[in-house]
Structures are given as structure tokens and as C-alpha cells.
Symmetry: C2
Subunit: 349 residues, 2 copies
């Protein structure tokens, strides 16, 4: 989506080459359980997936943190497991538990997936994006997203979250061609999904690779870097002006290589990313750095929060930078701490 002749949104300016004195700010999982208004809408929806699939409600929870805090960007409210669900591997969310799927652990299991069938669920998400495009303040960017193929695959193969993603990693070792067929399905579906989000009005895209950090380098290259590059290249052909942020959580020392190999326009840095990596390691790359306040410091609050915000701002001064957390905001976060954070960032002006 072009800028319609209007001023470029603040959020997008770092991607156009600008280092802003007051960086744009948004928070991963900013639409979430820490907000009472979110919990009310969630209760109205009843089921978590129903919240994702009801455009009026999904748009409402996306807007809630924008109304409260005036973040520079909204992020579409959805879930990374919408993709397998849309592909015909149903996802269930039981209260207080993580997601559950009937696992796919072999090439044969892929036959049950239904790629053309994705359209109706993706259409629903696109409708949410369209609503948001209408309802968001004109200065607020809208971020669309998907889970990276590797991370989504770990849930599809394990059938749930897991500390070590063992089933996906074992399949990838035992039958790399079969596992690649699953990744290929996810790459194609992700391109389609992100393309629709942009067509519906997303200004920017983020690819969440939550479990990127569990892989040795050769597997990281094959299952994290290559699929992400394919998605990035396809999107660049379709929508050359829409930046893509990669978030390879836990990639550590490998994040620089991820940036140069995938061609992402922005790199999300997790909480453990050390300052010298944030401020120097990406200097040779044409990339916007995003991150990386500890979400638990946002829970704790106080003077320590202010100091750390200042440290990050000092560190990234003069860089193309977006202020964010290093992981998603957690439910026990006091909403007033978020207000304090945003005020602190903007007090640099």
C-alpha cells in the first residue's frame, strides 16, 4: 500500500533510511491479556480462535493498545497457528493450556493438508486487516505477520509446544526431503497469507521464528534461513515497498548471518542479544534493528525500567532503530508500566 501522497508514517521512516531521535515504539503481543479491555473482548468471543476469526473482535483488540498508548504501529491480532488451521490441521486452544493439534509426523501425513482450502480462513483475516486500515489513526502503521515455516512446523509435528522441538528436529534429520515438503507447503501458504495481508492494508510484515534458536548451523540454514529468504523474495516481487522484519528468537551470534542471507529489512533482537550486537554487529547490513527490553523488567517497573530504557536509547542513538521488547509482553504486566515506558521513550524528543 502506498502512502497516498501523504507523509510517511513514523514507524516506516527507519526503513527509508532515517535514524530518528525518538524511535518508533511498539511492543510484541501488545494486544493481550495484560489489558482488562482485552480480557473483556476475549470473554465475549469465548474461544481464542473465535477471537482470531471474528474480524470485528480481532480488530477491536488490535486497536485497544493503540487507543491507550498511541504506539507507532498496531500489529494484527491473530495467531501463528492460523496457517496450519487454514491448511486443514485443526488447532484447539484449551484454557490455561497451549495449542493442541493432531500431529503430522511423516510425508504421508501431508496428504491430508488442503492448500487451496486456506482461502476462506485467510479471507477472514484479510477482512480484519481491512477493518483496521479504516479504523486505525492515519499515522499508525499496521504490521501483518506470520509464523516462520520452521516454528509453525514444530507445532504441526509435535502437536503442541515443546521445550526442544524434538519431533520436528527428528523428522528433519531422518527424512529431510519429507520434512522439506512440509516446509514448502508452509512457505507457499505464508507467501499467500502475507500477500493477502498487504493487499488488505498492512504496511509492514513480521515473521516470528520463535524456535530458531534450537538448531545447529546446518539445520538453521536449511529450515530457518532458506524458507525465510524465499518468503522475503516473493514478497519483494509482489510488494517492493513493504518492509519485512525477521525475528529469529535465540539466534544469538547467528542473527547477523540470518540478516545477510534472508534479506530482511528489519531484525528483531531478543532480550539476550547483547548491546554490542544490537549497536554494531549489523552495521554492515542494510537493516533496521528492533528490540530488546526484557518483558520482565516491564513487569517489575520502577527506576530500573527507566534506566534500562535510557540505556537502550543511548546505545541505539543515531541508528535506524525501533524500540520494542525482546519477547512478547507477559500477562502480569501492569498497564501503567507500559504507559511509563512509552512516555520515557518519547521524552527523548
Amino acid at each position: 500500500m502506498g502512502d497516498g501522497g501523504s507523509v510517511v508514517k513514523r514507524f516506516l521512516r527507519p526503513f527509508r533510511g532515517e535514524a530518528l531521535r525518538v524511535p518508533p515504539v511498539w511492543l510484541m503481543r501488545q494486544a493481550g491479556r495484560y489489558l482488562p479491555e482485552y480480557r473483556a473482548t476475549r470473554a465475549e468471543a469465548g474461544d481464542f480462535l473465535k477471537l482470531c476469526y471474528t474480524p470485528r473482535l480481532a480488530a477491536e483488540v488490535t486497536l485497544q493498545p493503540i487507543r491507550r498508548y498511541g504506539f507507532d504501529a498496531a500489529i494484527l491480532f491473530s495467531d501463528i497457528l492460523v496457517v496450519p488451521d487454514a491448511l486443514g490441521q485443526p488447532v484447539r486452544f484449551a484454557d490455561g493450556e497451549g495449542p493442541r493439534l493432531d500431529p503430522i509426523r511423516s510425508r504421508e501425513g501431508l496428504a491430508g493438508l488442503d492448500l487451496p482450502g486456506t482461502s476462506s480462513k485467510f479471507d477472514i483475516v484479510a477482512e480484519t486487516v481491512q477493518r483496521l486500515r479504516q479504523d486505525l489513526p492515519p499515522e499508525t502503521a499496521l504490521i501483518g505477520f506470520c509464523g516462520a515455516p520452521w516454528t509453525v512446523a514444530t507445532y504441526m509435528v509435535q502437536g503442541q509446544g515443546s521445550p526442544d522441538q524434538a519431533e520436528a528436529r527428528l523428522w528433519a534429520y531422518r527424512d529431510p526431503e519429507g520434512f522439506e515438503a512440509l516446509i514448502d507447503v508452509l512457505v507457499a501458504a505464508s507467501i499467500d497469507y502475507l500477500d493477502r495481508q498487504v493487499k488488505a492494508g498492512a504496511d509492514c510484515l513480521q515473521i516470528f521464528d520463535t524456535w530458531a534458536g534450537s538448531l545447529p548451523d546446518d539445520e538453521f540454514d536449511r529450515w530457518v534461513v532458506k524458507p525465510t529468504r524465499t518468503i522475503r523474495e516473493a514478497l519483494a516481487d509482489l510488494h517492493p515497498d513493504v518492509p519485512v522484519i525477521g525475528f529469529p528468537r535465540g539466534a544469538g551470534a547467528t542473527a547477523v548471518w540470518y540478516v545477510s542471507e534472508t534479506g530482511v529489512d528489519g531484525i528483531g533482537c531478543d532480550t539476550a542479544t547483547p548491546p554490542f550486537v544490537m549497536s554494531e554487529a549489523f552495521d554492515e547490513e542494510d537493516v533496521v534493528v528492533q528490540g530488546n527490553l526484557d518483558p520482565l523488567l516491564l513487569v517489575a517497573g520502577g527506576a530500573r525500567l527507566d534506566e534500562r530504557v535510557d540505556e537502550i536509547l543511548d546505545l541505539m542513538e543515531g541508528k535506524r532503530f525501533i524500540f520494542n521488547l525482546g519477547h512478547g509482553i507477559v500477562p502480569q504486566t501492569p498497564p501503567e508500566h507500559v504507559a511509563r515506558l512509552v512516555a520515557r521513550v518519547r521524552s527523548r524528543g
Copy 2:
């Protein structure tokens, strides 16, 4: 423990400055559930902690993988939570679940800990070490260990394992002096514990910091680096010839800094540590590198396992190196794959 005038054990030679064509090899959690003889001894003990606290049985399971595979080092069979248990915070292991403790979440809770009370449980572990010193082949080194104060604290504060160590991290942010008091207790107990292990016959020590990777740099410095340095320095005074290996799992790009700041003699690299870090990043440090085969590749086996073993050996050729996994061996590992791994490493000779 000196070498009694005899030849230096192969395992210790990299610490004396030698790069061996065939590196020493051992595997984290090599005494474990993947071995049928371990499961038999475990069943005899009944309870997991009872296995740790019965010297005859703990020594037996320590010896089992040495008999099968002739590893260059045995590692004392015990658990990192022996320390809180010995300090008077009882640990329970329910079958199929992780450890459970009544959590300590404030300075007041520390009053219930009983530092002098550690002696009897540490004595039991020392007795296991003495037995091992007698029963191990003379060429086999014996590694003692403890959990790092940070990692042990995460369990003591959370009361169990957790994906994000939230309770410990929150305490550390909200009341750093109080949390430091807990860390100080653990530092003192760890020094005592490791000192006893060396006096009883351990040739080398490893400090397991499983959750080092969750912390931002300032917290990493205060809760991971500084306590480890204190332990390292105390041990260097007591036992200057006994090398200490640090294993800050997930430390990523920060591992080099960890090495230079803590003064550890060996650095355990996890599975995600990229080759250039393994082979080059530590060149300026006087340190032995250990790692980092993916334990899941050891489950998968086959030609891919052989190739990866060769890649790691090629990469580390000419370096002071110890072959190991990047994480602990997993229960579903076929024992014959371990034999294949050891043969492959030794075929370099």
C-alpha cells in the same frame, strides 16, 4: 588430586595445552535413561533422589557408560538440585514430572535455609566420588559438577522448571539485594560442594548454567558471570590444577565474554553455537572448547551422524578440544548410536 607421577589422563591433556588428533570424548548425561542397565539400577533405587544419595548405586550408574563405551571421562551421577536439597529446601521428583520444591520468593524465605546443614548430604556425594576414584579405570578422568548459582536459583524461586524463569528474574529485578543474598548462599555452598568433590577424587569440574541464555547482558553479568567467577577463583586457590568447565547454555554471542570474565578453563558450547564461534571466537582466550553435536542427531543416527561428527572434528582440528554433545543425551537415544559416535571420533587416530 595429582597424577601420582603417572601419565596425564587423555581427558586432561587439552587443559595442559595439547591439541589431540583424537580429542577426548564424553557426553553430557551419559549415565542416563537411554541405557537399560541405568533403568534397572534406577528401578532398584526406587526414587530418583535416593539414587543420587546411595553411593553404591550412584557410582554404579556413573560407571555403566564407561564400561560400555570407554569414554575418556566419567561424570559423577547426581543432580544440580542436590544443593538446595542439602540447604534445607527439600526437592521432590515425581515420576514423569520435573522437580518440585516449595518456592522461596523473598529474603525472608532465605532464613529457612541451613548452610551448615549441607554437610551430611555433601558427605554422601563425596562418598560416591571416593568409590568412583577406586573403581574407575586409571585412565578415565572423573568430572565433578554443580549447577551454577543462577540456574539453581531459578528452580528454588520458581519451585519447578519453567520456560522463562520468570519468578527468579522478577525477584532479581524487584529486590536485587535480596536475590543476591540467595546467590551468595549458593556461591558458598557450591564452593564447598565442589571442594569436597575434588578432595574425594574429582579431576575436573563442570558448572552447568542451563538457563544462562534467558538474561539480558546486565543481568547476565550480575547473576551468571560474577558468581561463576567467584566460584572459579575460590577453586583455583584451593585446587589450582583442577580445570573448571563452564557451560552457559544459550549464551550465544556472549560466551566469549563469559570465558574472559569468569576465567573458566573450558567452555561447553551448546548445539546452536555456530562453527565460527567454536573454531575462532575463543582463539584469544586460554580455554578448551567442548561440544557440540546435536543430541537429536544422535537419536537419528545414520550417515548424517557420521558426517556431522567428521565436520566437527575437521573444524576443531589443531585446537584444544573435547568432543561432546551440545546438550544432554536424550532418553530415546539408541545405545548403538553412541557406540557408533565414539568409534567415529576414535577412527581419527
